[in-house]
Symmetry: C2
Subunit: 277 residues, 2 copies
Amino acid sequence: MSTLPVTDLSRLCIHTITTKPWGIEEAAKKYAAGGVKGITVWRDALSGRNIKQTGEMLRQQGLEVVSLCRGGFFPNKEPDKRQAALDDNRRAIEEAFELGTGLIVLVCGADPTQSLEDSRKQIRDGIATILPEAKDAGVKLAIEPLHPMYADTRSAINTIAQANDMTEAFNSPWVGVAVDVYHLWWDPNLEKEIKRCGNNNSLLAFHICDWKSPTLDFLNDRGLMGEGCIPIRKIRSWVEAAGFKGFIEVEIFSTEYWKQDQSVFLKNIITAYKEYA
Amino acid sequence: MSTLPVTDLSRLCIHTITTKPWGIEEAAKKYAAGGVKGITVWRDALSGRNIKQTGEMLRQQGLEVVSLCRGGFFPNKEPDKRQAALDDNRRAIEEAFELGTGLIVLVCGADPTQSLEDSRKQIRDGIATILPEAKDAGVKLAIEPLHPMYADTRSAINTIAQANDMTEAFNSPWVGVAVDVYHLWWDPNLEKEIKRCGNNNSLLAFHICDWKSPTLDFLNDRGLMGEGCIPIRKIRSWVEAAGFKGFIEVEIFSTEYWKQDQSVFLKNIITAYKEYA
């Protein structure tokens, strides 16, 4: 493993949800002041804002808008709820366009009252339906495989192999894969499947955080890089060997860190990024 | 899917931990009175007992001792702790022999301070070390792949494909696989890999429970069959198509159910077994 530590912050992106207590205006100022160069915007952070002006504000702070989180949640046993999901994904595409980002991350969804196979079919159908609109808006769709512990309600796509299979089936430059170490670190096929992403030119995003032992909450107990057992730098080396040159995105949901002074937390993110990313 | 419901209790086994508040003597009487035919014994249930006599007591109640839970936990960065794990597995083999069961379930272990690859190597080495002793005692070892959410501290074997790979590498009738629906239900390769188990004659155990939405605790919030989203009967049909004719083992860890009157819980287990297994 010859991957070197990152030497500067030129590829550091932070997700707005990572510093959830901050509004997006404050987050942008603080990220920029700290030397962060990219921001991924969660849709709740846009609530009540003019989206176009918010995008301009972010760029004025020197931040690249790396992606919009999140679209998806296609599956539902009830057709009207599937239709509502499609409408919501169309709004996400509009929001991404107005914000000025070329990427939406898809948390694909799952409905525990139907089979995973049915949910997967509805995911395929959902992406196929919105794909022409995404293309028209110049927005790529990144399928994010989610950890199997979320297979009941959040995603029926639980391995990078499944995301690669689906991406290959679409065979479109507008559909690819988001690699999040939290969801995928345990997978014995991870290196091989990241290579396959690279061969497909479909690796669209790279998210990092860490897995703490013990983890106390299914959703909101992610760790800062270095606090857990994920071999983040090793996985980054695979991602870069696959040709990925994009941002390294820090996405941490943590009730514990959200309670902290967010300026202190941001400093700790930057330190951990340099040491462990 | 033409699998029929189970029509009687002749294949129903319950794990002692499922009714943890009961001592093994009470559990045995209540299981037998309820028509249950098999028991899997957790080692804590043997604490302070004469193991040989306990095995005889179980058989006198008409119960087959299906397996002993659990061996494993081989990996550790520190050699003396790996040695202690081997010693503990040797004790488990002796206990299984005295209890009169021919099967130990292995929760293989993982150490978050080292790589999964190192942990997997230590698992292979550990099984190889104890295998001659298991064979001498007439005790098979079932590798139980654990859900990826346990990859940090409980098992570096997280898919049935990995368990099959390892079983094939040993190529011994004394090493096989335990299929637990809770750990494996999300896996898109599950049917294929259960078939592979069948082709290897290595499917040694079948555990059931359900995955609740939401699940509130990483360890102790498993559901009763029918309460969650696991397609238990479909998975049973795959297991039986692979030639498995053994017990269907109810293994539920649940703080909620352990608080209930265990006689009521046992009735509910039997009802849920008939309806959903």
